[in-house]
């Protein structure tokens, strides 16, 4: 897939040497943790904290994740709900914490943001994309963030403008840019296609 240079490149999770491990995933991202587990040393999960946001996958991954017997297991309904716990965890983390993020770009981006704010070197964080390519977008006009955008164009959930979802990505906002698609001629309503699946 052709991409542009402002967009993060995601890799494949692999167990790192470290004193403790914080693994965060949403939806199909859980399967990346399960795959990492196959390569992990025996005592890896005894020092691990898993934070999981099931999203559209419902209850299909919980049992397998719990079977890894992590020292701490958390399940939350949304990124926003998980952030206070994440921020506490990062603020109280000791040297030698390793972070792993897996799932949608929205999850990876927002968790990365929180980690950078806590002073963690982003280059030390492992990331892997799994599941939906739904995008988190910032409307360049009203600055509101619209979550889980799967269509091109998309309607801003704040100001209602019809937005072209660009590939241009801001790590600081953990969002793609949305720019009014019919600003030149507002009577032109391009067909909406479901393309970020």
């Amino acid at each position: 897939m052709k991409t542009i240079l402002s967009r993060p490149v995601y890799g494949t999770l692999s167990p790192q040497a470290g004193k403790s491990h914080l693994l965060i995933a949403d939806a199909e991202g859980a399967s990346a943790i399960l795959d990492l587990a196959k390569k992990a040393p025996e005592d890896f999960f005894a020092h691990a904290h898993i934070m999981f946001i099931p999203g559209r996958t419902g209850d299909s991954f919980q049992a397998s994740l719990k079977a890894l017997k992590p020292a701490q297991y958390y399940e939350g309904p949304s990124v926003a709900a998980a952030l206070p716990r994440l921020n506490w965890t990062l603020a109280n983390a000791h040297m030698g914490l390793r972070m792993y993020l897996a799932g949608t770009e929205g999850l990876i981006g927002q968790m990365m943001q929180a980690a950078i704010e806590a002073g963690i070197d982003p280059a030390s964080i492992q990331t892997e994309h799994r599941g939906s390519w739904a995008r988190r977008i910032q409307c360049v006009h009203c600055k509101g963030i619209t979550e889980n955008v799967t269509t091109q164009p998309a309607t801003c959930s704040h100001c209602g403008l019809l937005l072209l979802v660009r590939d241009h990505y801001s790590k600081r906002h953990a969002a793609f840019q949305g720019v009014c698609i019919n600003a030149e001629d507002p009577t032109e309503i391009p067909q909406t296609e479901e393309i970020f699946r």
Binding site: S170, A183, D185
Partner: protein, 346 residues
Amino acid sequence: MGINFRKETFRDDFTFRNSPENIRRFPFPYHEDAYMYSVNIEPHVPGPKNSVFEHLVDVDEHYVSEMQDRAMVLAEDPLRCQSLPHMTLAGWDLLELLMTEKAASYPEHFSLTREGDRWHWINRPLGIDDTFTFGDVSTLPYGPMEYITRQSQGDFAILDQRDNNLWMDAGMITTQADWSLDFDIGMNFFEWHAPVPLAHEMGVFTRALKFLTNIQQGKPARRLNWTMTINPRLDTSPENFHKWGSDRLTVTPENVGEKVHLRVELQSFWRLPRSNALVFPIRCYLLKMDELVTVPKWARRFHRVLRDLPVELAEYKGLTRYRQTTVEWLSKYDDGAPTSPGFSPD
């Protein structure tokens, strides 16, 4: 003898225009009858009298009105001016650079008196007379970057240099072409240029970054970039695109001369002494088609450049809707005669 500052607008009734003398000093950006990307960077050294390069920081007849337009933009949208916390020192560097250059080049309009850290700045065109302590933010009405760039034509991006890259960590951006400081702040050189077509594959940005990170203090560099704007609108931000985008549909064969503008950016690059940051002033010059065709060489050449521009570039620059109408209008001023090499009007 000072500059005769025009009273004019860049919105609503659009009373902006250039005096005949100002047309002759327009930085026409094509040295031949075709255009393609190039790094095209040269030393920023003082140029001929009555050119925009005469002084390193150019002040022209639009100064006062441009500053009024900037104040209006900032009142509507303060996010156009942002500075990450580690960039304050670079802001002071920029304040020093702009004050000293303006006072040296235009003593009839600006003066700077320094007694140690106690600085006295007079900006006569804008009616400003302030005394402040250099390095003490509490002695200015704004942060240092905002204070001085509210008094300086052009956008300003301040780039932090680290990890062999440049980072867009502060800026005053109210006259931009298609990029958002609020979105791009904190990005590195490749990231904020990511949407530009063709140029990455040509290696333009890799070469440009290498050049820019090596810029030395006291040896600024410059390049020209260009686009087009319908109506003499300075605030062609993406933030307000939904308000001005429909301007592009208003071009007719009858109004090309008045409505269509060539928009040239004089970008310069300066190393700042204390912070080691780079400042990147992006100065915008507008020229109406009616004004452009008063110079026969420019009329012929611009007709050929616009007619032959690759489609991707026309699309990226947002020219598609009115390009054909403009090319046809310009063709009346192109008799096919050869043009002399170089930028000058002849």
